[in-house]
Symmetry: C2
Subunit: 335 residues, 2 copies
Amino acid sequence: MAGMNTDLLIRLRQALLFERLHTIPELSRTLSTSFPTIKKHLDLLIEHGEVDEEDSDVSSGGRPAKRYRSRADHTHGLALYLELDAIGYRIFDAVGTLLTNGTESVPRKHPHVPALVRLIHRLLAQDPRITFLSVGVAASVEDGKVFFAPDYPSLQQVDLKQTLESEFHLPVVVENDMNAAVVGFHEADQNRQQSLIYLYLGKNGPGSGILINGQLVRGSSHFAGEISVVPQYDKMTFGQAIANRQTTLDVRTIDAISRLTATFAATLNPHLLIFNSAEVTASDLEQIRTTTARYIPETHIPRLVRSNWETDYLNGLTRLGLQLQTEQPIKGTST
Amino acid sequence: MAGMNTDLLIRLRQALLFERLHTIPELSRTLSTSFPTIKKHLDLLIEHGEVDEEDSDVSSGGRPAKRYRSRADHTHGLALYLELDAIGYRIFDAVGTLLTNGTESVPRKHPHVPALVRLIHRLLAQDPRITFLSVGVAASVEDGKVFFAPDYPSLQQVDLKQTLESEFHLPVVVENDMNAAVVGFHEADQNRQQSLIYLYLGKNGPGSGILINGQLVRGSSHFAGEISVVPQYDKMTFGQAIANRQTTLDVRTIDAISRLTATFAATLNPHLLIFNSAEVTASDLEQIRTTTARYIPETHIPRLVRSNWETDYLNGLTRLGLQLQTEQPIKGTST
DNA sequence: AGTACTTATTAAAATATTTTAAAAAGTAGA
DNA sequence: TCTACTTTTTAAAATATTTTAATAAGTACT
């Protein structure tokens, strides 16, 4: 353990896991640290069972570099997401691969926290290798504390992170659902565009997750992304304009979404606007694009894409959990 | 020069100049570097004439720390801002204090670049201590290159940074006017709120500068902040809604601004919204606040403030110039 | 004024990191 | 298959940073 830079260990884990960097030269360049130092820290991670030395890379003209990879079986994580009458969960390995998932119903009007705690106890007993928790909820969250949860009165003002950490003695991350979704999409996106907005129309009103310059936008009073109240027409907000839509989107709804798209383009000008593929069809997207072009020049319209919201949400929770895991101090080795 | 970490030197300069940190313990904590290392690097800056050792601080219970300060007379900077028929300038010292300012008229329809180059030549001859340039322009700029400049056709697609750097062999920073203004306000703001938006109504259409999580938002196609085209009414954008306003703002204009305020609150939820005090009175602000409250809950309305746009703009250019200056490599000492 | 207590600074030793150079491991072409 | 070349890895020396402990410089109270 002597001579180890904790911060470098963390950045090393994150580079291996999230930035798809797997050779010492790559890591050395990106982390601007010399290869002897990288190698020394990598050796500790190997000794600790977190990283595996793989076969050599294909040569780029000279001696091929060895590849180092996070070991999938090093640890397990548990992601949970609260719904109105259920709690969904997913157990995954150290590289984020799904192992088990399921749902536990929660009777209507019953408080979520006790049900959550019971479920986690059961899952931990079932899989004792779980070492961190990630929780998603449709509420505004700051530092693991639930602030505003209109749909979950029993969660209001609950410090969920604190509660779960002292109950289970495991690191916990709690995040808003839209924020998790945008993180999840960003993670899976090959290009890793640095500014994207996830748009969710919703049954009980729309929401959005905003990622700018690679950072989540939370807002000064946890109100960022509450697009429902954006004024759009003489007498209607965005939320009102899309409230009466059917499954197939009508012209009025398309116009409202297009106005919102134009608004985002004229303020944040993001690379990407992501829609829930369950809510918006490919042809809707075409229409949104042409309608938006009535408001702003085509060049400035973000790329409009569809994605599976549930998948992105869960991937986001997984990603946030793994991120938390990389930040944990290394446990002392036998030496 | 042996044993000097260039990156640390830069961060040291920036902490002294911008973060109001002046003692070794403060610097050591903030830069998470040990005091011997801080002291060693500080000594180099002192030897180099960039920093002055001051009298001791007042005691906080024990031995008072010495205060270290950037020397105002170490170097001079020149900020220039392009207007339609003139170029304004300001010469300032190494801590940003104004030394000289003035304006040079440019005949209408004449290209700005040659006039700018001539003016800089004259000012450099007049004050040979100037070591860096900062240029502001009402156009979209990326990496010093002017992209879209409807008001300055002669600047379109000009790499102004490159042009000036090769002409004068001095470091140059070029920035959009609204971005400079929001940076300037942020710099002067005691609280240094991390998310703010500067709103400019303008004669030829409005604009805005957006700073989120401490970073400028530029957008994927340099279109961020182009609020003129935000759809707000059945048949009007923000730009159209405020186009016919008089000096005293009417109810319709107030409503349009309030809708924009609500839009920002419901998307970015910034701490602060800054208005040009030449365009908006204190009582206008009151009205905007109450009107905005018709659209969103009062708690989520950003703090609305008035500020002098010109001052903020120039302070922003000054700040960007000084920042550039801190990033310059140290010139070899006599040893 | 003197003493106990805080806090900053300095100096020396311990530790960590980088640089440099040599060795190892591959490819490609003669 | 040998040679020249490229790139990675290892090892040793040089350099940089941090830790530790001692010293200096103040305050507050008796």
